[in-house]
């Protein structure tokens, strides 16, 4: 099965590739970012599509996908939450925030491992994972919801209420 990439997206991808005049392979990360943005996660078809596009063996794309925490091979929820767990945020209460977010969204993190870091709520609306330092350590606890950034998140309810639809 091949990936159905909309024409506009393919044009955007082709345009990105021109940013790497020396080596097309350099475009692996940007292509994967655009595909993940479109499809939510990176499927096997997306890996094959990227490989064909950049004239690489699929393993060259797969090894990139499996290395970087920023690429997901599992579908996230509609709203994907990343909570910073590193020192300054932990001091500001990020572990408590994680517990409270899980409780409020019904997410069970007991099956989470290094290779499967994401847990999804039963209704598929939210998913969550811990992230390492998000570079706003003075204003923790810090988290991201999809591409939105949030600082000093002390209360799970008011965060989730912004993503209730």
């Amino acid at each position: 099965m091949s990936l159905a990439v909309p024409t506009a997206l393919e044009k955007e991808i082709d345009d990105r590739i021109t940013h790497y005049p020396v080596s097309k392979r350099s475009a692996v990360l940007p292509v994967l970012h655009l595909l993940q943005h479109q499809f939510g996660h990176i499927t096997e078809e997306a890996i094959e599509w990227t490989a064909a596009k950049l004239e690489l063996e699929p393993i060259k794309v797969l090894e990139v996908v499996t290395f970087y925490p920023g690429f997901r091979q599992e579908a996230p929820g509609k709203y994907h939450i990343r909570v910073c767990r590193t020192l300054s945020c932990a001091m500001a209460g990020s572990y408590e925030l994680m517990d409270s977010l899980c409780e409020k969204t019904g997410i069970d993190r007991s099956g989470v491992t290094h290779h499967h870091p994401i847990a999804v709520s039963p209704d598929g609306k939210y998913s969550i994972e811990f992230a390492e330092c998000l570079a706003s350590c003075g204003f923790g606890p810090v988290c991201m919801v999809n591409d939105d950034f949030h600082e000093k998140v002390s209360d799970a309810d008011s965060l989730l209420s912004q993503y209730s639809k």
Binding site: V22, H33, G70, S88, L134, S136, G138, D147
Partner: protein, 464 residues
């Protein structure tokens, strides 16, 4: 800074000296090219295009500018490492990976003053002879990537980037490259591998010093965001005047990012070496929290060795020999190194007496265990071991000899790896044990010596 006002509640502290952060949180400031041009923006770029390249490199050398990304290496000296006989293309990469725990400065330049960075980069590219440059922005800064790309497009439109810039015959393209959530992409050779579309496995040095053999095996200059911004100011005010700020061998200003147990954490641009750690904590950050006392400070990002409150540090030699308490340490590269730590990335993490040291170290070890790239056995295995041992410590399942084992693991990583991540991950453990052995030992249980620990209780206790 006459005539400039800042957003209410975000005014710089009186002890700050804002150069690179001049426009951060500024009233009426935005990221448009028009706003930047209205303040003399790109004038230094125009000037640079008329100068001999060597003159710019010499100015950067004379200024004494040291890298703000972590190692504090002199910027002009690094630029000089491009082989004089080189015939290959030269590349420049701006390191905007900002991932060292405790560091949050580059994000404000990307978000609030992208043209300042582009101008600094353009001048630097011209000086080192690069016609293609990338800004490597960490994946977790999606908004920054959009803002910087918009700034690049505007600069192109005005002919400040692109082909034959302002009729000079010099071509320059700058592109944004986004990372994908891996700390090791901040290490410059890992970054280069990542930019080549591969796993970011750091390269072994020698031979892969980027200035000689970097991106696509061509000479490549990698500099931090803050470093590149300074280049513009060095040109603007002159190397000599620029070097008058700061202290000898520690010239200029730098941004300190303070987090942890202080009343008002934040970012502060100060003259290097002109403020002490005590002034930073007590004056700039409003002091410790009520009723708390200071336990420790990590002065330069989580990889920097910890400083213990109450210790006395002997610094300087001969006539200059002095004894300093933690409060008196001037925040500069050389003094922090003399105190056995480093200025690193400028990320100051303050730890008060409410924090168990085992918990702090365990959190840090979790970071390195997650971020090791896995190429070198001591680092790949050792980071996990260090995390597992401190997991046990936090869970009250460690025996006294575990502290020695932990120390031994760290010592066996340090100096035995491909990249400096090895030191970065070992130094916290080494220094925490050297300074807080008693407290760590008090968290162990002698009766567990030789016992087999149930890993399920452990995982539960560590909150995993």
């Amino acid at each position: 800074m006459s005539g400039i006002s800042y957003k209410s509640g975000r005014e710089p502290h009186p002890k700050e000296h804002r150069v690179v952060f001049r426009n951060v949180d500024r009233e009426g400031w935005d990221t448009s090219l028009a706003t930047y041009l209205g303040e003399g923006g790109y004038e230094q770029w125009k000037k640079a295009l008329q100068l001999p390249r060597q003159e710019i490199i010499d100015a950067v050398k004379q200024s004494g500018l040291r890298g703000r990304g972590g190692a504090g290496f002199p910027c002009g000296v690094k630029w000089g490492f491009i082989p004089p006989t080189n015939t290959k293309p030269v590349y420049l990469i701006c390191n905007a990976d900002e991932s060292e725990p405790g560091t949050f400065k580059d994000r404000y330049i990307l978000h609030q003053d992208p043209h300042q960075l582009l101008e600094g980069m353009a001048i630097s590219c011209f000086a080192v002879g690069a016609n293609l440059a990338y800004i490597y922005i960490r994946e977790e800064f999606p908004e920054a990537a959009v803002i910087v790309e918009k700034a690049i497009a505007e600069a192109h439109e005005k002919g400040l980037l692109g082909k034959n810039i302002l009729g000079s015959g010099f071509d320059l393209d700058i592109f944004v490259h986004r990372g994908a959530g891996a700390y090791i992409c901040g290490e410059e050779t890992g970054l280069i591998e990542s930019l080549e579309g591969k796993r970011p496995y750091p390269r072994i040095k020698p031979p892969y010093f980027p200035a000689a053999m970097g991106l696509y095996l061509c000479p490549t200059i990698v500099n931090n965001v803050e470093t590149l911004c300074h280049v513009k100011h060095i040109l603007e005010i002159g190397a000599e005047a620029w070097a008058k700020t700061g202290t000898p061998n520690n010239t200029g200003t730098r941004i300190l990012c303070v987090s942890g147990d202080v009343q008002k954490p934040g970012y502060f641009e100060v003259e290097v070496g002109k403020v002490t750690l005590g002034e930073v904590i007590n004056e700039m950050c409003g002091g410790l929290k009520p009723g708390r006392s200071l336990k420790a400070v990590i002065p330069g990002g989580s990889s920097a060795k910890v400083l213990r409150a109450g210790d006395v540090y002997s610094v300087g030699r001969g006539d200059d020999a002095r004894e300093l308490t933690l409060w008196d340490i001037p925040m500069d590269f050389d003094t922090l190194a003399a105190c056995g730590s480093m200025a690193g990335s400028g990320g100051v993490i303050v730890i008060d007496d409410s924090r168990p040291i085992s918990w702090v170290l365990n959190n840090i070890n979790g970071f390195y265990a997650h971020e090791s790239c896995g190429q070198c056995t001591p680092c790949r295995e050792g980071t996990l071991w260090m995390k597992k041992i401190t997991d046990r410590l936090v869970a009250g399942q460690a025996s006294p000899s575990d502290i020695d084992t932990l120390y031994g693991v760290a010592k066996n990583i340090d100096g035995r790896t491909i990249c400096a991540f090895g030191e970065a991950c070992a130094w916290p453990t080494e220094s925490f044990i050297e300074k807080f052995r008693d407290e760590l030992t008090s968290d162990t249980r002698p009766e567990l010596e030789g016992a087999i620990v149930n890993s399920e209780t452990l995982t539960a206790a560590a909150g995993l």
